[in-house]
Amino acid sequence: MSLLKIENLSVQFQVDGQPLYAVRDVTLHINKGESVAIVGESGSGKSQIFHSVLGLNSARATIKGEIIYADQSLLNQSETTLNTIRGRHISLIMQDAISSLNPYLKIGLQLTEVLEHHYNISRKAAKPQAIAMLKRVHIDQPEKRFDSYPHELSGGMLQRVVIAMAVLCRPKLMIADEPTTALDAPIQYEIIQLLADIHQQENTSIVLITHDLSLVSSLCQRIVVLYAGRIIESGSVNDIMTQARHPYTKALLSAAFISGSYRDKKPLQSIQGEPPNPMLKDQGCAFYPRCQYARDQCKQAIPDVYTASLQHQVACFREDIK
């Protein structure tokens, strides 16, 4: 049962009069209670897909396609309607989570404000809920932290506060955009554990956007791999981790493997060749210039998707690669 349906989504920007293709024809369904990892290198369009879901793209973006959340179309929806969905039904933990708190306001106020807004209750009535949520994300002395300013907390704690803010209204879907990038390795693991807890206990669907394949398996059931704005492979964690078929995913995995788990922050950089240029309209497979399996056919047309196994889909001409 799909909670969120993204159909044929394209996001384009105009940069100096030239089109920039940030997202190209992406179709993705997120089911109720499911947790999905979106993996891809920097600039592959991970954030833009989900900014489109919440209507957060810059005014310069042209968006095509269809986004449907619980039978309601979200594209071209009014701000007022979106404001009832943002934070309440679908919440987003932004990529730069730590600076997503206002440095001049107490943490408690920033939390209660979300409740005030969505449930129309007073700040006083919202306080116990906010404190309970701080406790829920394992912040000790939540009563004290309620009255703290962001600069008084460590990065890991701030990340927890931001998560608390995202789950405060018990959303159906939570999108976490690289929630661990700024954190030390042990804290990264704790944060992923926390998200996994919330996923299991609240039955919230989770989308984890990440560079880092090593973080994925303890939280997610499904992995979607993006390259140059397109989904090039998707499947269960097991499918992708052990039986990846697409040459890019394979390269990604071996790069992650060589660099030795999650300690290295930029494992993807070790893939040979130039990252794709988002200003180019793709005539063929975008991975062609870097692909060791490439054939002439690959630069003529965009590869069709083939089904490798039940959930496992790959966009590549070389169905023979195992």
Binding site: L54, L56, T84, G87, L92, D96, N102, Y104
Partner: protein, 290 residues
Amino acid sequence: MTQQHNSTTEAPWKKTLSRLLKNKATVASLIILMVITLFTLLGQWFSPWELGEVDWDHIGTPPNWSAHHYFGTDANGRDLFVQTLYGGRISLMVGLLATAVSFIIGVTYGTIAGYLGGRTDTLMMRFVDVLYALPFMFFVILLTVYFGRSIWLIFIAIGAVEWLTMARIVRGQTLSLKQRTFIEAARVCGASHATIIRRHIIPNALGAVIVYATLSVPQIILFESFLSFLGLGVQEPLTSWGVLINEGAQQMESAPWMLLFPALFLATTLFCLNFIGDGLRDALDTKDTR
């Protein structure tokens, strides 16, 4: 919970305040300014003379304590102590009110322009540029000549000029605040534009304008004095320091006290306000102390 709460929570504005209070010149200025304000409000208690009351026995006399003319009298036998304190009320009020009016207009206008951005912003700021280019001093003079001397006209005229700079400052602040992640994060949580402006933009943009506003109070007082000096200030029986200085200057040789006292008060007030403005600027200068 047995753990000691040793680190006290400190609001960013409290830090600014404590930094401000460490600045001796600012604190001294604040105190002096308070004394001057109290003097203009309560000074009348200490004098038996009323504003505009003529003492036929003491015309153009220097300070004379036995007759309770502490600052002397003018050529019409009116008590200068009383005139100075009433004049002070007007001067301070013109300064504060005109600043308050331009503050409200400037902050509203600048926030809207900066927040909406794009074409609306360009249009709104062009309008400000046009107003900037107009010779306002000249307008004020024309208006006062035409409509007669009115304190309201002075408020409006001064307010109309001062808000321009404030709007520019706030717009600049808003433009840069708009880029901050926490503004987008507030949107992500479903906050409306009105909430974002009220909660996140205006409070954070205010610092820079407050400094400018504090510094524009003395400018306005001075401008009013200048108008008075041209004979275009407030009208009798009202008076202001500017009016008094103008009258005093005309009798500088025969009755120097008539210039001395109002000028002393005006100069002290201007000094204090400038020190406070500078102190505020320094106190607000260190951004986001982490």
